[in-house]
């Protein structure tokens, strides 16, 4: 008899979701769906606003990565103004983006995911948090918080606020960097480098013991998409789009992000508010691709900074071709933390970062603008059409986590097949299913354009829809 298990709400992720698992007559998992349960409406209610206000408004999509929206929105505005942003302003924007990626990654690893690694997948759910980490390893908790604080302070020192700064605007940024703040950030680099390296080495050392998870938690073939630098190095702000397949072959390269719609289309399913972007040439749902840390390291040929390079090479040696296990998102995330610190140091070491010409101005010169950046969770697109007065008429936002929607659903299915025994549910089984979602670090508040809290509930349903069992938190 067919049954359905519902996990509601999914815990330790950003946003709200539930998971339903449908079991076949033998009690084995047949289908899995991750439902994003709420809607936001930004693309609608921003219509009619001046495009110059959109960075400030779209930043409110999220409290975790407002900087990513500020950047993508301002870049779309740059396109509408058709200006060349001053080089120092570009570098200051990049600096803020590195701070953003670093703090968000530290949040996912130390606060949300590490409890599973340090305490175990079957440990007491009440302990699986930063507090549990603090009880087991106070130094790890402190240093995790320290890393995140560094990233948040980079944002604050540039934009005066940690969350929802208005510093990035179409044409550049609205204030230059204070020399004393440059020195303050530089003085903290050695400490955060040491912490980042320490936990990279720790996690690398743990990998053999997680090999079973690597096999079962989202191990499947997909495409990978992201921004890439001119020489194949990691890139988060400029660059072009590249798509590689599961074997690492390049399918699309040197594509201007303005032309994203040529390769990305979006599908809609009735059971979730999150759309399903897919790689257009392969169709839906075959055109499943992944974005984010795993994808960025898979499309790159090198890290581009000396310390991260060593780990990058090790990462790429995990699997031939592209690294396909979603479990390795975590390793990729830690490598990116180190890379971000190195890039922050590199950008600040050039004294031209203090240049005071940081804003270009212009009116409406183009009626269409696309802004693309790498957010912590992957490639983010803001696409605006305006009238000649600069009022926004049409908006499309493709959010980083949304790109991963097909892959997250696939990962949930794989993990559920491996771990869930439909005849008897245990909390640890469900935590393994949730852990796959967590590996992607989805920010569902943004991506769905949803609002509220995300609990997890797993329901076991009979084919006629009767609820046979349920676990929820």
């Amino acid at each position: 008899m067919e049954k359905t298990i519902t996990i509601e709400n999914v815990t330790r992720i950003e946003g709200h979701a539930k998971i339903t698992l449908t079991l076949n007559d033998d009690g084995k998992v047949d289908q899995a769906h991750m439902h994003v349960t709420q809607v936001r409406g930004f693309e609608k209610f921003m219509q009619g606003r001046p495009y110059t206000e959109l960075p400030g408004i779209t930043a409110r999509t999220c409290g975790i990565c407002p900087v990513s929206h500020l950047l993508a929105s301002s870049k779309a505005g740059d396109g509408i103004m058709a200006v060349r942003v001053p080089k120092t302003a570009v570098n200051l924007r990049k600096l803020m983006n590195y701070g953003q990626i670093l703090q968000s990654h530290a949040l996912n690893f130390f606060y949300l995911s590490a409890p599973d690694f340090l305490l175990g997948m079957d440990s007491d759910p009440a302990q699986r948090s930063l507090f549990g980490i603090h009880a087991a390893n106070p130094e790890m908790a402190r240093e995790g918080v320290r890393l995140r604080k560094f990233g948040q302070q980079v944002i604050e020192r540039l934009g005066t606020k940690r969350i929802h700064s208005n510093w990035v605007i179409p044409g550049g940024v609205n204030a230059p960097l204070e020399p004393s703040l440059r020195e303050a950030i530089l003085s903290e680099i050695p400490e955060v480098k040491r912490i980042a390296t320490k936990y990279l080495d720790w996690f690398r050392g743990q990998l053999p013991q997680f090999s079973e998870y690597a096999q079962n938690m989202g191990q499947f073939n997909s495409l990978f998409l992201g921004l890439i630098g001119r020489e194949g190095e990691l890139e988060y702000y400029d660059g072009h789009l590249r798509v590689v397949d599961a074997a690492g072959n390049i399918l699309v390269d040197r594509l201007d992000p303005d032309r994203y719609a040529e390769i990305i289309a979006e599908a809609v399913e009735p059971w979730t508010f999150l759309k399903f972007p897919y790689y257009r040439p392969l169709g839906y749902p075959e055109g499943m691709y992944r974005v984010g840390p795993l994808a960025r390291l898979n499309i790159a040929r090198k890290a581009g900074t000396p310390m991260a390079e060593r780990y990058f090479e090790d990462f790429r040696s995990l699997e031939p071709g592209a690294v396909n296990s979603s479990f390795y998102y975590h390793y990729a995330r830690l490598i990116e933390i180190l890379h971000c610190i190195e890039k922050i140091e590199e950008l600040l070491s050039d004294i031209s970062i203090l240049d005071t010409h940081v804003r270009a101005s212009a009116g409406v010169n183009q009626l269409h603008g696309v802004g693309c950046t790498e957010a912590p969770r992957g490639t983010l697109f803001h696409d605006y059409k305006v009238n000649r007065d600069g009022a926004v008429e049409h908006i499309n936002m493709i959010i980083a986590s949304g790109n991963n929607n097909l892959a997250m659903n696939r990962g949930v299915l794989e993990a559920a097949k491996a771990y869930v025994d439909g005849t008897r549910l245990t909390e640890g089984m469900l935590n393994r299913v949730e852990a796959v979602v967590r590996a992607f670090d989805p920010c569902l508040a943004c991506s769905t354009h949803a609002l509220g809290t995300m609990p997890i509930q797993v329901e076991l349903l009979a084919p006629d829809g009767e609820r046979l069992d349920m676990i929820s938190r």
Binding site: P50, E53, I57, R60, N166, G363, D389
Partner: protein, 238 residues
């Protein structure tokens, strides 16, 4: 001009005959909150933020349009007045769409600073959430009716200082809307001289310079009083 004597908040004050209570109070360091008042143009008493209590009458008087008189005993900051002012502010917030965090005038807005001064942390009325237009048709300036509190400063400044009378109001009560010329879009209003004085006197982010992001619109409050003062000096010379 003869001198009069009155009492404000227990303080004995001398004033020139013909001054308003508001002018007298401010000249003596006593602030009375205002929103529609604009130094240099005719007061209208529209917003009622400047209401004061006067001994001998149970009516509250708008201090911006009430002349100070000899022997008046006035109170400007009683609990009753504060309560009324909070209610006025709450009604303004409920009437249109004031989203401070993403507004061009965030941090530089008179409505916002009055709300902070009156310790408003929530609104007791249901928000009306009207859908009002944002007119961006002017080359340099925009008007967002969602943020307009109908103070009428822009109408008076355009009429009395610039002499263009591009702006006026249409409809009545809650349906009132600021218009340009014969209710045309601003970009089509041929009488507009593009001087921007209306933008500088607007207390909120309703009138703004295009191209600015959240919090970037800082109004020049000295512009209109300065112009008026200069004119008076030039006039006196001639």
């Amino acid at each position: 001009m003869s001198e009069i004597q009155l009492t404000i908040n227990g303080q004995a004050i001398k004033a020139a005959e013909g001054e308003t209570i508001l002018e007298t109070a401010r000249a003596n360091g006593i602030d009375i909150p205002t929103l529609c008042h604009q130094e240099g143009v005719t007061p209208t008493g529209a917003c009622r933020m400047c209401l004061v209590e006067l001994d001998g009458t149970n009516k509250l008087l708008p201090s911006c349009v009430t002349r100070a008189a000899d022997g008046m005993v006035i109170r400007t900051d009683t609990e009753k007045l504060k309560r009324y002012r909070r209610t006025i502010l709450e009604l303004l917030f409920a009437e249109r769409n004031h989203t401070c965090a993403v507004c061009v005038s965030n941090g530089h807005c008179e409505l916002q600073s009055q709300a902070q001064a009156h310790k408003i942390d929530h609104v007791n009325f249901d928000y009306r959430n009207p859908q009002l237009i944002v007119d961006l048709s002017h080359e340099r300036f925009g008007i967002d009716h969602n943020r307009c509190i109908l103070c009428g400063r822009c109408v008076r400044v355009c009429d009395e200082i610039e002499g263009a009378h591009t702006r006026d109001m249409r409809n009545r009560g809650i349906a009132t809307l600021i218009i340009t010329d014969f209710d045309q879009s601003w970009g089509e209003a041929s009488s507009c001289t593009n001087c921007g004085k209306c933008v500088e006197v607007c207390p909120t982010g309703a009138l703004f310079i295009k191209g600015l992001g959240a919090g970037e619109m800082v109004k020049n409050h000295e512009l209109v009083p300065g112009l008026v003062n200069t004119r008076e000096v030039v006039h006196a010379k001639n």
